[in-house]
C-alpha cells in the first residue's frame, strides 16, 4: 500500500481534530479532538519513518504518546474541577480571564 495515503489520512484526521477544537463547546469533546490531532501527528511521524526507512519518526511518536498521556491526566483533572465548580463542561463559559 502506498505510504502517501497514510499522510493524506493523517492530514484529514488533523483537520477534523482542529475543526473539532474550534467548533465544539463541550470540553470533553474538545479534548478528544486534541487527542485526534495528536494521533494524526503520530500517524504522520510513523508514515514518514516508513517512507524514509529509519526509526526517528517512530521514536518521536513514542514521545508524543507519553506527552499525550501526561496531558490527559492534567487536562481531565482541570475539566473535572471546572465541572465541579460551575456544573458545566462548556469551554465558553469560563471566560473570566479577559480585559
Amino acid at each position: 500500500m502506498n505510504p502517501e495515503n497514510y499522510i493524506i489520512l493523517s492530514g484529514l484526521l488533523f483537520t477534523i481534530g482542529a475543526l473539532g477544537v474550534l467548533i465544539r463547546r463541550n470540553a470533553i469533546v474538545v479534548f478528544m479532538s486534541v487527542e485526534l490531532m495528536l494521533n494524526a501527528a503520530n500517524l504522520a511521524f510513523v508514515s514518514f519513518a516508513r517512507i524514509n526507512g529509519d526509526l526517528d519518526g517512530q521514536v518521536v511518536a513514542f514521545f508524543v504518546m507519553i506527552v499525550a498521556a501526561a496531558e490527559v491526566v492534567v487536562g481531565l483533572a482541570i475539566i473535572v474541577t471546572i465541572f465541579r465548580t460551575r456544573r458545566s463542561a462548556s469551554i465558553d463559559e469560563p471566560n473570566l480571564l479577559k480585559y
Binding site: 474550534l22 463547546r25 465558553d92 471566560n95 479577559k98 480585559y99
Partner: protein
Amino acid sequence: MIGTGAVVAQTAPTLEPLNAATGIFGYIWLLIALPLAGAIILLTTGRLLQRWGHLLAVALVSAAAILGIAMLIEMMGRAAEDRAFEQTLFTWVFAGQFNVDAAFQLDQLSMVFVLLITIVGSIIHIYSIGYMAHDPDRRRFFGFLNLFIAAMLLLVLADNYLLLYVGWEGVGLASYLLIGFWQYKSSAAAAAKKAFVINRVGDVGLSLAIMLMFVTFGSVTFDTVFANAGEASDSTLTWIGLLLLLAAAGKSAQFPLQAWLLDAMEGPTPVSALIHAATMVTAGVYLIVRSNAIYDRTVFAATAVVVIGVITMIIGAVIGSAKDDIKKALAGSTMSQIGYMVLAAGLGPVGYVFAIFHLLTHGVFKANLFLSAGSVMHGMNNGVNMRRFGALRAAMVVTFAAFTAGYLAIMGIPPFSGFYSKDKIIHAAFEQNNIVGIAAVLAAGITGFYMTRIMVMTFLGKARWEDDAHPHESPPVMTIPLIILGIGSAFLGMALVYWGDIESWLAPVTGIEDRPLAIATWLLELITLGVVLMGVAAAVWVYRHNVPIEPPQKVSALTVAARQNLYDDATNDLVAVRPTWYTARFLVWFDNRAVDGFVNGSAAAIGGLSGRLRRLQTGFTRTYALVMVVGVVVVLATLALVMLP
C-alpha cells in the same frame, strides 16, 4: 584716574617679596582661630553656656585684639619694606594647574583692618552684653558675632582672592543671620533675605573676576596677579576692575546695589554698628584698594569707581536727610561716607591712603553714632522714630556726649577725626577733577544738614516722648564703650596723622602721590568747613520750631523721593523683580500648557489606544485557538513560499 596734573611726589607700591612669618607673626592663624572657636563653641554647646557664653565670646575677641596690637607693635619696630608677612597653612585646592594655598598675608593694609575689626569688634561685643541682656537668645547672638569677626579677619588676611572669597561669603552669611536675628518679625526676615539676595549679585561679580584672573594670570594669589598685571591686555584688566567694582558695590551698598542697607537696620543695633557701619560694608573699599595694581592700569574701571562713589555719596546723604528712623538716617549716612571712600579709592594713588584713613576714622565714629543711637533706643522702649524723641540730652548725658563727639567727627569739624580724613579725600578729589571735588564738598554740606537734623530731633528741642517712655541712661557696660569710642571719634584722626603717620605706613602697599592744587589747602579746608556750617545752619533753621510728631505731608518732591529711598526699591522692582516674576509666570504657563500638554497628551493617546487593543483579549478559549490556527497556517504558508522554490 581722571585728568592730569603735575606730579610732585609719587611712590609706587613696592612689590617686596613677603617675609616668612616668624616670631609672633607665626600666630596669624590664631587671629582667625580665636573668634572662630568662640563661634563653634557658642553655637554647638546649646544651653550649657547660656549663663557665661557671652563672656567667652568677649574674651576671645579681646584676645584676638591684644594679639593684633602685639603684632602692630612688632611691625612698627621693623623697617618699612620689612613689614609684610606671609604664612602658608596647607595646600587647599590642588587640581591640575589650579593650586591654591590656605595662606595668610599680613601687611600694613591688613594690619590696620585687623586692628579696626578686633578693637571695634571687642568694644561692640562688650556693649552688646548690656544691649542684649534681656534677649533669651543672647548666646546665639554672640556666636554669630564671633562668626562674623572670624570671617571678616579671614577676608582681610587672605593672601589670595579665593580665600578672600571665603571670608567674603562668611561675612555675608553672618550679616544675613544677624539682620534676621529677630526672625519672628517678618520685616527682619524679609530684610535679611533682601540683603542676602542683593549681595549675591555682587558676589557673582567677584567670582567672575576670580575666574578671569585665573584664566589670565594662571593664579589667584595677590602676589602673582599684581606682579603680572602689567602684561594683561587693557580690556581684560578693565573687565576685572569692573567685576571687582560690582562685588564692592554689593558688599558696600554702593549704587546700584544699595537698597539692602537701609532695611538691614532691622537687625539689633550692635549689628548695625559693627557690620553695617564699621566693618563689613567697608570690605568693598578694601577689595578696591587691595587690587590697586589693577585699577592703576585701567582708567575706565577706575573712573567707574569714582562715578559710583560720587553717586552713592550724594544719594546716601539725601536719603539720610529725610528719614525719621534714627538708624535709617545713620544708614543713609553710612552709604554716603562709604561713597567717599569708594570715590577716593577710584582716584588712584592720590586717594588709596585716604580711602583707608577715612575708613578707619569712619569705623570708629560711625560705630560710636550707632551705639549711641542704640543707647537712646534702649532708654526709649526700643523706639526709633526721632519725631518721638527730643530733649534727651539731660536724660542721657553720657550718650549725648558720645554722640556729640561722633557728630562733630562725621561733619569734619577740626580737630575731630573726620576733619583729617574727609578733607584729605576732598583735597585728593580736587587734585583729579574739579567736578568730583565740588560733589564731595556738597556732600559734606548735606552731611552737616542730616547730622544736625538727627542731633536736633533726638537730643535738643522739646520732649515729644510717648506716654510710657521713661528715658534713662544705659548701664556702664554700654556707656563705657561709648566713652571709648567717643574719645576715638575725637582723637583718632589726629593720632593717625601726627603719631601714626598713616600715609607713609600704607604707602608700600598702595603707593602714594601728591599733586599741587590751584588753591591753598587751608583755603579749601575753610571753604569745606563753611559749606558744612551752612548745612548745619540750614538744619537748625528748618527745625527751629518744635518738630511735628506726624511727618508733614506737604513737602518737596525731593523729600518725598528721599523718604522712598530715591525709589531704589521701585527701580529694583521694575528692573529685576517684575521681569523675573513675569518670566517665571510665563515658564509656569509654558510648563503647564506646552510641556505638560505634550506629556499628558501622548499618555492619553497611548492609554486610549491600549483601551481599544485590550478588547482583543475576549477570554473565549476557542477564539484564542482560532487565532493560533490562523497563525500557524500563516507561518506555514510563509515558510512554504520562502523555502519551496
